[in-house]
Amino acid sequence: MDFGVITDNFSFLMLQGFIGLGPFAGGTLRLALPAIVLGFLLGTCIGLARLAHSPWLSVPAKVYVEFFRGVPLVMVIFWFWFIVPVMLGRSLPEYAVALTAFVMFEAAYLAEIVRAGIQSVPRGQVEAATATGLARAPMMRYVILPQALRNMIPALVTQFIVLLKDTSLASIIGYVDLTKAAQIVNNREIRPFELYLFIAVVYWICSYTMSRYVRRWENAAGQSAR
């Protein structure tokens, strides 16, 4: 075993692979951060649509969520990778394909989190808001969503952990994230055990820190509720 391979390639693995600074359009964080923000925006729209009274909104939203939750992410990535060139007549860069696939896929899961968050706001809040004369849209905007968002934070962070781990799958279409960077180094150095163990530790540190944060938040919330 020789961990010198890690120190020699440390800046490539971390700067290029993990953060996304370097000659390749890549980076785990550069994919995960925009994907969670855009996915949350789309997910909020879909989550609200699922709760709408009109079946013209709620049924398509339900179909969207059930469809994406019943299909593997790898399949969704391949969908965008192979279908977009056919539809547009030209191919898109890996980054655009990966980002679209992740936003669409995560939106289905985030929509469920948004829906659960909104449903966790006590019914009395809706009645009180209606009683003060608020219309439905301002009520959502000023009363329900701010409270729902607070309840959603642990689930959102957990979903971000899932997303961060899932971005490793973007490497199968050639996007240079941390996993692909390790593969590139491994092709030259043939040190699979050390390299894959190293990136496992990097992913582990990120996920574990965030999951600790979630647990602390939940414990604090649980105590204040009592």
Partner: protein, 241 residues
């Protein structure tokens, strides 16, 4: 969009056989990994609530380490990273006997074992503490109390979250294509490569996954009804895909 659909590519020539092979491999790798994951999950989930600190700590270390790293990295680790550390004869044997398949089973089984462990731990926590005390006071040893009372009750409580985990495992088996296991997604890509019919091939693969997920969800919701413990039904409602 200018595209002429030709669905016959899905059954002309070898493609039908490829799809069928893919489904069978997906089911095989998923069911073997499922058995491993459930066994590991029950063991480590029970140990996480055990009255011995060292055991609790070991089980927690297993869960936290495996659950927080992407499955794809585990696939590479088990397939590329582990074999060079094994004795030479064993390496040769593995290469002759589908090393990628067994690496895939290990990666899926160990990763989802850690996730099942959390489900089972939550199930055990949902059982009133008095059940355990009552079991021990009738003269059962602690391992007996777990084997005969606590784990069987927990398993009946966790059917809905276990369904979700089972579906995740089935969907995650598609990651095994990265190490060359010829499962459903792999075969879908192969059809795409040979026929240049991306849309038809991917639609077929997607529909098969949706069908498998729906079938498992339907089966598990029947199982949930027959397994429900009267009086504790409210704990686990809402089976969702």
């Amino acid at each position: 969009m200018n595209y002429n659909f030709d669905w016959s590519v899905l059954w002309s020539g070898q493609t039908g056989a490829w799809l069928l092979d893919g489904v069978l491999v997906t089911l095989k790798i998923s069911s073997l990994a499922w058995l491993a994951a459930v066994a590991l999950g029950i063991l480590s989930g029970a140990l996480r609530t055990a009255p011995i600190t060292l055991l609790r700590w070991l089980a927690a270390a297993y869960v936290e380490f495996f659950r927080n790293v992407p499955l794809l990295v585990w696939m590479f680790f088990w397939y590329f990273g582990m074999p060079p550390l094994l004795p030479h004869a064993l390496q040769e044997w593995l290469l002759d006997h589908g090393a990628e398949f067994w690496a895939g089973v290990c990666a899926l089984g160990v990763y989802h074992g850690a996730r099942f462990s959390e489900v089972i731990r939550a199930g055990i926590h949902a059982i009133p503490r008095t059940q355990f005390e009552a079991a021990v006071s009738t003269g059962l040893t602690v391992p007996q109390a777990y084997r005969l009372i606590i784990v069987p009750i927990a398993l009946r409580l966790i059917v809905p979250p276990a369904t979700n985990e089972t579906l995740n495992l089935l969907k995650n088996s598609s990651v095994a294509l990265t190490i060359g296991v010829a499962e459903l997604t792999f075969q879908t890509r192969q059809i795409e490569t040979y026929t240049a019919r991306a849309f038809e091939a991917l639609a077929a693969g997607t529909l098969i996954y949706l069908f498998l997920c729906l079938a498992i969800a339907a089966f598990m919701s029947r199982l949930e009804r027959s397994m429900a413990i009267p009086g504790m039904i409210a704990r686990g409602q809402s089976v969702e895909l």
